[in-house]
Structures are given as structure tokens and as C-alpha cells.
Symmetry: C2
Subunit: 714 residues, 2 copies
């Protein structure tokens, strides 16, 4: 049952307050208005009320809960304490009635003429954990909620976490557990713990509130005081603004209909095809032809009759039959007219290679082009891109060089430079690729369209994306959450350190720096975030090589004790769990290693061992079902040279694969330059191996584990 069903929100009360605020042209609510709004959503605030007699005081105090404080309310008594008009720490009904009488008597004695309006009863909040709960309208993700520890912790250490609103109860709980100092809320040094469930409910209520009333732009409950049994919003601040227009979206079916024609076209036209070397329209033609694209290729150029042996047409209309994709290799200013023609021809996708649009300040031209595309139902890729590759179709629709190593990795980049790095790395590492897509200005097609296509694409096993921003972060998050259940989604989010100051009217708003919000929401969506470009590329290359682990037990087998220590460090850095080796398994390992070797984990077989020792211990690691992943540390010796090691590993791994036993294995190779060849051989055979580094193989395994956990496979 949702929080709303449990408590029943008084939406009408909120509506009327917000309408009144809007009617007065204000953009912030007064404290009592804010209080009334959150109370309408079942959020406790410190109780208070005016008692006209002792019985009133008892009723009020009992309702809000003891202890309470009572204070005289009189326009004629300024110094309440001096007048004996304040009694704190009232702990039961009888005392409340007494306190009422005492206060009124004291007031009458102090000033017999004073007009007495009654006695205010206020809840006294006993000490609790100070936390902040809030919500803002994020320009990328829409409504998001925030949770953090209050006071100096959030102020100085920025220990705060964000999620998309509305949150599920599980998500709200994950926020309470997800801050760095969460342990404080569980009660340390004998302190009372905070009521995590009450905090999670409060988060859910705030999240429901901003979802139900989109014009609420910021909410700050700061502080919220959390005791072992309650959570109360002491101060409430609410700002309102124009509700953001939700971005236009296509349905999954619409996206797939377009994307399938774009990625697997039967026929492409090259607008601006050229026979002249060095021209973009020439490079695109060469890559289509030389790349081996099997569909129809139509050069469009009014001044040519033949390009690369293919008959050229003057305009796209002159092409007989359907055209799925039009690739534009003409200057920006000629795009609108050509796009009108392509739209009329019924293309599914317009690949806008030219620059000179939004990125150079010419947003108007970009908007014009999008409007034309919308009119014709054409989807635009770009503008300002290198094009795209889709290897299952041998399609290299780009002015760069063709790529022809098919495989399971789909990559995209927002920047052409990064696209070239992807291409170069892929070629150098012979990474199997299904697609490389430039998204450039993302005037139309963006990452969630690509995700939607790659989700269903049988050739794609993993999606790796470089991005600087998201046009519609919520659509991306929702799509990624679905896709990442089946296929790893790796994201390099650039610009992460340019958090910048956001103009914000609330504390929550000030804390919601771009990067911290991206980080939390990408993680919530099951996305594996790569810390840098090289990590993006190495994760993309490595993850498809590794079978999904079936459990958390990682074992290191190493010939070099020194590597074992560094590999252990890397395990901790990457959130991997070194298995505690049970006694019987320890004995089993010991049977294979010299007496001065160390079993335990790492299993240190020592340096001078023959191939059989590596073989036996690795086989044991694969055989024992309690072990879920292996990290190998190889030490180059004369007794077991690099290629001998590599071949024996592949041999034993193949043997177990044949028996249906698949476990992720990574390796770090320490040795002279021959280890480079050995590492390549291992990699080609599904063992993610690197020379001269203990960090990289473990980082790739760690990324595989992060994905498997997020996808719920562990």
C-alpha cells in the first residue's frame, strides 16, 4: 500500500493554499502556509494550539504529545517569563491543566488589567537527529527529492543524496541508508537511533507532494528532527514557480520503428555525395562502399552523373523506390531545403553531419530543421556529428574510416573528438563493436532513443555512452533502468566537476549540484558510471568478455606475493569481496602449492612454480562451486614463461567451459615485454588480462559486479 493510501492526502487544502499564493503573485509560501501544505500530506510539524481553558490545554497537549510548553498569550504582557507566563517541560495531562491555571493566575497577579487571549500550547521536541529533506525541480531530471544529515555535516561535507520523484518506499529507504554518515542515524556511541521508516515515509510524502503539484519548485524541510519513533519537520520552506513543460516524447514503438529503419536501412542517400578526394561527401561514399554495405547507396549531387561507380541523382526525389536514410554532407545553410525533399521522400532518418547549428550559436537554424523533420515524421541524428556505424549491416555512414570488427559493444558519443578516440581504441584493441553513433547536438535523437534500439538489438550486449548532458534525463533514467536489467549500460558523464553555482532559493536547491544529482540518479537507474574515458573504453571492451558471476566470492591466485597485495587493494577499491576460504578448500589449495606458499586469499603459489601449479590451482578455483570469480596474478619466470601461462589458462578455462562452468576470470601479468603478447592472447580467449597493472583487470571485474548487482543478478 502506498503512503498516500495509508494516510490520505488532503489535496484540496494544498490546492487552495497554492491558488491563494498564486492569486497574490507570490513565489514563496509563508511559514504557516508551508506548514499547512506539508501537514495536508501527513507530515508532522511541531504541534501548537491556543487553549481557552485548562481542558483545552489538556486536549491539545495530549493530541500533540508530551512534553509541551505553555505560554501566556496577551497583547499586554511583553515579558512573559517575568510575568510567570511560561512553563516548560509539562509531561502529563494533570500538569497541563495545572500549568494553565498557574499561568493565568500569575498573569493576573502581574497585571490585573491585562487582556488574556488564552494560553498557547506548543510541542517540545526532545533532542533528535537533525536531517534535511527536500525537493527541487531539476532542469535535467524534473522533480527530485533530497535527503541528508542536517547541520554542519550537510553544510561542510555535502553529505546528501538525490532520487527521482516520485520515489518508491524502497527507494526512499535507500536514501536514508545511502548517505555517507548513515551510521550516525543508526545510533553511535549509545545515541538513540533515528526512525528510518518514519524518515523514508516523510521522503515519500514530500516526493508525492511535488509530483502532485508540479508548480511547487522547491521544498525544504530543514531541519527535520528524527527520534527513535518519529520524524518532525521543524522548519518548512516552499517555493512555487511555473510548472515545467514535460518534454515531448515518442513511444517505444515509434522509436523502434524509426530506429530500425535508420540502423538497418535497405537504402541510403548521400546528399552532397562527391567524387572529389578530401570532401566529406566523398569520404562518406567511400566508407559506405568500401565498408561493404549491402543495401542500396544513392549519391545525390546535381553536378555529377556517377560517383564511385554509382549513378548519381540530382535530387533525392529522383531516386526510384524508398529511401530509409539520408546522410547530409552539405553545408548547414542548405540543409532545410534538402531536408524538406528528404521528408517528402519519406526517409526515416536524416543524418546531419554538418556543423554550423546550435553549437556555433545558430540555434534558429537548428530549430527550423527540427520543425521540418517533425512535419515529415523524420528523426534527426545530429547535427554536428561524424555519422554512425552499424557493423551487422557493414554500415559505415561516416566521414571517418570504416570499422569492421563486429561484436557486442554499442558506443555513442556526444563529441566528435571522443568518437574518434572510441574508433581508434576499438581498432587498436580489436574490440568487437555493433555500433558507434555520434549524437552531436542531439537536436532530436538522443541517448534514450539509442538505448531503446540497442535493448532489442540482438547484436548488442553492452551499451557505452559518452555524454555531457541529457536532453530529457527522466526519459533516459527510465529507459536505462529497464535496459540495464538485461544489458550493461556504461556512461562517461563529462563535465562532472563543473558543478557550478545554481541560483537556488532553498538549501536543497543549493546542494543539488549537477554532478551529484547525475551520480545518484544514474546509479539509481542501474547505470555503471565510468570515471574516465579510458575506463569507459576498457569496461566496454572487457565486460562482454566476462560471464556474469553467480556470487560475491572472489579468489586471487598469484605467483607473486607482491601482486597479491596490490590485487587485494584493488579488490577493496572496486567493492569486491575476497572470499574467506573455508578450511577444506584451504587444504585443497595447499596440496598444490609449496609448503612456504600461502593459502588463504590471495592464494600465493610462489614465484618459481611450474605450469602445473598454476593449472591445478586455477582448475580448483573453477571447480569449487563456492568460488564465483578468479583474479590471476602472473609472475614471469623461466619455469613458466608468459605464453606458457597464457596457453595453460586458456586450456583449463576451455575445459571447464566445455563442462558448462563459466566464471569471470581476469589477470594481471608482471614480467618482461613478452607478457604483452600473453595478455592479448588471454583477452582474445575471454580472460580479461593486462600487463604492468594490477588495477585495470580488477576495475573491469568490479564494473561487471556493479552491473550484476544493479541488475539484480546477484
Amino acid at each position: 500500500m502506498s503512503v498516500q493510501e495509508l494516510v490520505g492526502y488532503d489535496k484540496a487544502a494544498v490546492r487552495s493554499i497554492l491558488d491563494a499564493v498564486r492569486a497574490e503573485g507570490r513565489d514563496s509560501l509563508t511559514a504557516p502556509e508551508g506548514r499547512a501544505v506539508v501537514e495536508a500530506y501527513g507530515i508532522s510539524t511541531p504541534g501548537e494550539g491556543l487553549a481557552a481553558n485548562p481542558e483545552d490545554a489538556v486536549v491539545l497537549a495530549t493530541r500533540m504529545g508530551f512534553p509541551v510548553v505553555l505560554k501566556i498569550v496577551s497583547p499586554d504582557i511583553l515579558h512573559k517569563t517575568e510575568a510567570g507566563g511560561v512553563i516548560v517541560g509539562v509531561t502529563d495531562a494533570a500538569a497541563a491543566a495545572d500549568a494553565y491555571r498557574t499561568i493565568v493566575r500569575n498573569a493576573r497577579e502581574y497585571d490585573p488589567d491585562a487582556r488574556i487571549a488564552g494560553v498557547q500550547v506548543q510541542q517540545m521536541l526532545t533532542a533528535g537527529h537533525e536531517v534535511i529533506i527536500g525537493a527541487v525541480s531539476d532542469p535535467t531530471f524534473g522533480k527530485i527529492v533530497a535527503f541528508g544529515l542536517g547541520g554542519v555535516l550537510v553544510e561542510v561535507l555535502k553529505d546528501v543524496t538525490f532520487r527521482l520523484a516520485p520515489t518508491s518506499p524502497e527507494t526512499a529507504r535507500s536514501m536514508v541508508e545511502g548517505i555517507k554518515a548513515a551510521e550516525i542515524l543508526r545510533g553511535v556511541r549509545g545515541a538513540e537511533p533515528a526512525d528510518a521508516e518514519a524518515l523514508a515515509q516523510l521522503i515519500s510524502r514530500v516526493s508525492d507532494l511535488v509530483t502532485d503539484f508540479p508548480e511547487i519548485s522547491e521544498v525544504d524541510l530543514n531541519p527535520v528532527l528524527a527520534t527513535a519513533t518519529s520524524a518532525t519537520a521543524v522548519d518548512v520552506r516552499i517555493l512555487v514557480g511555473a510548472a515545467a513543460e514535460p518534454p515531448a516524447r515518442f513511444t517505444r514503438e515509434e522509436i523502434l520503428a524509426s530506429m530500425n529503419r535508420i540502423m538497418r536501412p535497405a537504402s541510403v542517400a548521400v546528399i552532397g555525395a562527391s567524387a572529389e578526394d578530401g570532401k566529406i561527401g566523398n569520404s562518406v561514399m567511400k566508407n559506405l562502399v568500401n565498408g561493404g554495405f549491402a543495401g542500396k547507396i544513392h549519391p545525390v549531387n546535381p553536378k555529377a552523373s556517377d560517383i564511385l561507380g554509382l549513378p548519381a541523382v540530382a535530387g533525392i526525389n529522383d531516386i526510384e523506390g524508398d529511401v530509409d536514410v539520408a546522410i547530409f554532407a552539405i553545408p548547414a545553410k542548405f540543409v532545410p531545403a534538402a531536408l524538406e525533399e528528404a521528408g517528402a521522400k519519406g526517409v526515416a532518418g536524416a543524418i546531419l553531419i554538418p556543423s554550423g547549428f546550435g553549437e556555433t550559436g545558430n540555434q534558429e537554424l537548428q530549430d527550423e530543421v527540427v520543425a521540418i523533420a517533425r512535419k515529415h515524421g523524420v528523426r534527426i541524428l545530429g547535427p554536428n556529428i561524424y555519422g554512425y556505424y552499424y557493423t551487422p549491416q557493414h554500415l559505415s555512414a561516416t566521414f571517418c574510416t570504416p570499422y569492421d570488427v563486429p561484436g557486442g559493444v554499442a558506443l555513442s558519443s556526444q563529441s566528435g573528438g571522443i568518437g574518434m578516440a572510441i574508433l581508434g581504441f576499438s581498432r587498436s584493441a580489436r574490440m568487437g563493436v555493433s555500433a558507434i553513433v555520434g549524437v552531436g547536438n542531439k537536436a532530436d535523437l538522443d541517448e534514450d532513443d539509442l538505448l531503446t534500439f540497442f535493448e532489442d538489438d540482438e547484436h548488442t550486449q553492452l551499451i557505452a555512452m559518452h555524454l555531457e548532458d541529457l536532453k530529457d534525463g527522466r526519459a533516459f533514467a527510465e529507459t536505462a533502468q529497464r535496459v540495464s536489467k538485461h544489458k550493461p549500460v556504461i556512461v562517461l558523464k563529462a563535465g562532472r566537476t563543473a558543478e557550478g553555482a545554481r541560483a537556488a532559493g532553498s538549501h536543497t536547491g543549493a546542494l543539488a549540484g549537477d554532478d551529484v544529482v547525475y551520480d545518484d540518479i544514474l546509479r539509481e537507474s542501474g547505470v555503471i558510471r565510468a570515471p574516465g574515458l579510458n575506463d569507459l573504453l576498457e569496461y566496454a571492451r572487457g565486460l562482454p568478455q566476462l560471464p556474469t558471476p553467480k556470487g560475491e566470492n572472489v579468489v586471487i591466485i598469484t605467483g607473486a606475493g607482491g601482486s597479491g597485495v596490490l590485487l587485494s587493494d584493488a579488490c577493496v577499491d572496486n567493492g569486491l569481496s575476497l572470499m574467506r576460504i573455508p578450511e577444506d578448500l584451504d587444504q585443497a589449495f595447499r596440496a598444490f602449492i609449496p609448503p612456504f606458499g600461502a593459502a588463504g586469499n590471495p592464494v600465493d603459489i610462489t614465484g618459481g612454480e611450474p605450469p602445473s601449479t598454476y593449472r591445478n590451482t586455477i582448475a580448483l578455483g573453477l571447480e569449487d562451486p563456492r568460488i564465483h570469480a578468479l583474479i590471476l596474478g602472473y609472475w614471469h619466470t623461466i619455469v613458466t614463461p608468459p605464453m606458457t601461462f597464457a596457453e595453460l589458462v586458456v586450456d583449463v578455462v576451455d575445459e571447464f567451459r566445455a563442462r558448462g562452468i563459466h566464471k569471470p576470470i581476469v589477470a594481471s601479468l608482471s614480467g618482461d615485454v613478452e607478457v604483452e603478447e600473453a595478455a592479448e592472447f588471454l583477452y582474445r580467449h575471454g580472460v580479461v588480462a593486462y600487463p604492468y597493472t594490477t588495477e585495470k583487470p580488477v576495475a573491469v571485474l568490479g564494473a561487471k559486479y556493479r552491473w550484476a548487482r544493479a541488475a539484480g543478478l546477484l
Copy 2:
């Protein structure tokens, strides 16, 4: 003037308390003893005293400072408050005298027969910042002091920092400023700041105390309350134990005398030299001969007359003339007898390649060997090592393969496996190396001996060390502090995540995990810590290539906007400052780039530019004295292919070098595989360049900056 000179420590008082504690066989001080000890070192504790009359009360209260609290002291009055025997918040002398009288009167009324011992006067500490200050005896570094924020911050977030005791005043201040939450002490949200100077003095006093009295094993001042004007130790806990024996040390002159003979021997003997392929004694001989060592090489083998064409002798005594180094390639059990002979022959160094000593549990044999070495004044390298290389002498005293690319990098490793990774990486990257040294078990020679030699070695510009522990951390720290002023010292400290639980009797002891102590003290010593093996190697390779920057202004010049964003991220990650480009410089850059390019920083020259644009902007970056370092982001295009870019960069850099202008330049190359060759070309010409990564070049520049700052060069 030191703290001690300012305040005068009462060492006699401390001595007598510690003697009394020892006499009673205790290992911890009582609270009053602890208080007395720290007060003897000028550390304030909350004042308290017993007044026998109103005048006493006034004197006591005035001395300790107001406000105070007065309490009846009577064996017959258990419920002091009920008896009217407690008055809090006494703020001046008159009130103190009154309070004394009132309390005694109340007590007499309450119980006329009560025996009244007097009235206790206690200082009332007004709210302040809670911090922890402590000291422990660290097994590696000896006496160290700790500083952290108190309460849950240190408890949960472990926000604590350590330094060697004794500390200088500057070091003590750096601790107060060095914790993550230091901002809290400066006063946030209108809070009162803490008196940083008083805290620093308190740290110095604790540090002096444990230095003066080595038997004090742990000190906890927890909490210390710091106001804007004071710092008071509220609770004091002191533990004592046996004072640790300071490790034996050699003088700098002694170390250099031995190391110079070991690293630059005129004559070496190979004990266990062999003519048989595959034997370690054969590999060592081959490497010495084939490596081109120009000194005398004496194979020692009673069963051979000639090895690799060199006359063999039966024993080292049979060699005519002096022998500087004896390389042992015989089983462990034969080492003692052979070492006796070598010692008698007067060798300076015994290179113990064999394993089978401490690392396999045979500590006794290792101790025996060290004792023999000490007797003869021989220094031992190892045991359990691959040997060592010193390229200026063409000396490859190792069973691995020779290395012959001379250069300025000296490397050492504690593990043979890591040594092999060093060798392989060096060869693969053609890294110029002065020495590679295996230290293995470090039975004798260790990192501070190596540092001492490399400090003076004209062939060495940078020292890079892999280590798992330090035998004498204090000697290392002191040596590194001196050496790192002239030459970068890079350390990969392995085992950093195995912090483990240390049995500790104090809070400070429990916080002093191995790694956090290493981290703080290595930093204090000017050491650049490498996060991983590959970083160690890349820093070692890259730093000598880069001239030392003359200031903090870093400028990014990029052809790819996307790389610019990632390079900016990397700058923040690596503590680099992106220069704010002044208006005139911005205009100067704009003159060279297209109108839609972006000046500012990164300077985005845009992707399609010819070589001249790269050339002009880079030249401007080198010319303008306000710019101190350049980061280049190259984007592979047809207009400026990779090698064209690389050559123009080297050209313009050479031009400025010829004019005496040297600035560090690093480059990230995005493109197809040709960028690999271009990056290598750039690297060979002193521009630290990498393909497919924006992180690595910036990390190397960041390491150079960290060193330059620590060495006081910026």
C-alpha cells in the same frame, strides 16, 4: 621560540607520576594522574578545587575563570541538589562568595549533623568545538600525534590526521587545517570559530610530552573543547608501556661509503657462478657480461675453471685484488659460510638473490646472515631478490634480462613480481632508467639507504619505489623529506586497504590504521603517493620529461570540445588550477581561432582547423609568461593528421626551448590508431602524450605539480 621555551614544562612532575605508576606495575594512569601530567605540559583542563571558606572560593573561581559551579563536599550529604548544595552558573567573585555561604547554610539546614569538608569549585565549560588530540607509538613511525574532530565525525567519518612527533608549530597548524571538516572549526552558519593557534599549541605540547617520555605509549585528550579563545582537555587518558628500542641506524656517510661501492663496483664476484643454462648463477654471469659491465667479473665456483670465458676461482679468497660486491647465487643454507668468506675479503655489499629466509619462515637463518654481515661491515641487499641494475655502469647484477636504456629514473621494489613489471614496462616504454633495485626481505639495506644514494647520484632525477612496509619509517620519512626537495620521490605503498584492527587501548590508537598514518606521513615527507602500479610507472616515466612549472596557471588548448570538458574534469581531479584567462590574453587567443570557437579556458580551437591554428595557439601559450603549463587536446582530422600535429608541437616546443622557455606540456590524442605513433613521437620529445585517454596526461602533470608544491618550488 618553541612551545616548551614559552611555557616551561614541568618534566620532574611527570617523571615522578610515571615512576609511581611503574612502581605499582600499572599500564594506565588514573584520571587525576593523567590530568596532572598534561597540566605539567601546559595543557589546560577544566579547573577545579576545594574551597574551605568564601575567600577560597573566590580565589579558585577567579584563577580558573568564570562561570563556575559550586558543590557541597560532605560524606553525609548524598543528594546534593536536594540539600540545596549545588549552585551553577556563578559568574563573578561576589556571587562566588555568596554561593559558598548559601551552600553551607543550606547544607546545615538540611542536616545539622553533616560533616562539611568544604565546597568544590569547578570550571563550567561553555559550549565549544569538540576535537580529539592524541598520540600513539606507531610500530613503523614511532611517536605520532593525531588530530580530528570529536564526536560522531571522527567516530563515523574517521576524519583524523597524523604527523610524526615532535611536530613543528607549522606542522601542528597544518593538522588543524588538514582535516576534511576543517571548515567547521573556522565557524560555519554563524558558529564561533575554534582557536586554531591554541589547538596547534596543544598538539605541540602532546607531541613534546610523548617525545620527552618515550614510555608513554598512548595519549587521548578526548574531547578537547575549543572556543574562540581557548582549548581545554576535558578528558585525559594516558597509557604507558616499554619504550620501543630505536632501530639501529647508519650515518649518511656510512651509507654512502657502502652504497657507492655497491652501485659503482670496480669488481664483482658471483658466488655460485655457473656455466649451465637455466641456472641462476649462469643468468647472472650472462647479464653481467652481455650487459656490458666494464669492471672485473669473478665467477666463483669450486667445480669450474672457466665460465663464459672468464677464469673461475674456487673461493672468493682466491681472487686477487679487492672485490666490492659479492652476488650470491647459491642456496640459502650455503650463504652463511660464503658470507663469512666474502666479509673476510672485504666486500662492501652482499647481494643475496636466494630465497628461503624470513619469507619462508626461516628468520633464524636471516638473523644469522645479518649478524655475519654486521661483523664484517658488509651491507646486505635482499635476501629473496632478483638483484639490481645500475645503467651508468652497465651493471645488470640480476638473473632477469639486462636493461640498457640509461636515463634518470631509479626504481626499487620489495617484490620480485613487481620488479619484473617495472622491467617490462620500462623496456616497452623505453623508459630511461638509472637503476632498478630489488630489496626483497630488507634484512639490511632498505629504501632510506637507496634514497641516500640516489640523492647524490648525478644520474638519477627521480626515485620511484614500490613498498609494502618500512623497517624504519621515521628514517625513511626524514630522508625522503630531504631528498624530495631536489628529486621527486614516488611511492606505491601496497597493502593500503588491509588496515586491520590494531589492538589499542585508546581512541587515537584505534583510529591510527596503518594506511591513514602512512598516507599522512608520506605526504608530510614530500613523497608523491601513486594510487596504483601503473600510476607509479607512468609518473616515473613522465615526471622527468616535464620541466618544473613556475606557477599554477594551467591552460587547456583543444581541437575537440568534448576532450576539453574531460580534460577540465581531470584538472579538478588532480588539483590543477585552470587559469582564468585575462581579457587581453583571451583576445590574443581569439585572433587565431574561428569565431564560433571558444576562448576562455579550455581554449577550443574547434575540430576542422589546420596545423597553423594549433601552432599559433600553442606558441601563444608558451610565449605568455602568465601561463605556466599547457594541456593539449588533439582531435584527429584530415586537415591536421596525427603526425602533422605531433611534429608541429615538437617544432614549436623546440623553438621556445632554444629561447630558454621551458614549460610542462602534456597531450591527450583522440583519433584513429595513427595517434599511437604520434603520442610516442611526442613523448620521445618531452611532451607527455597518450592516446585514448584524457586522464593519464593530466594525472602525470598533476603529480609533477604535487611534487613541485611539496618541494617548495611553487
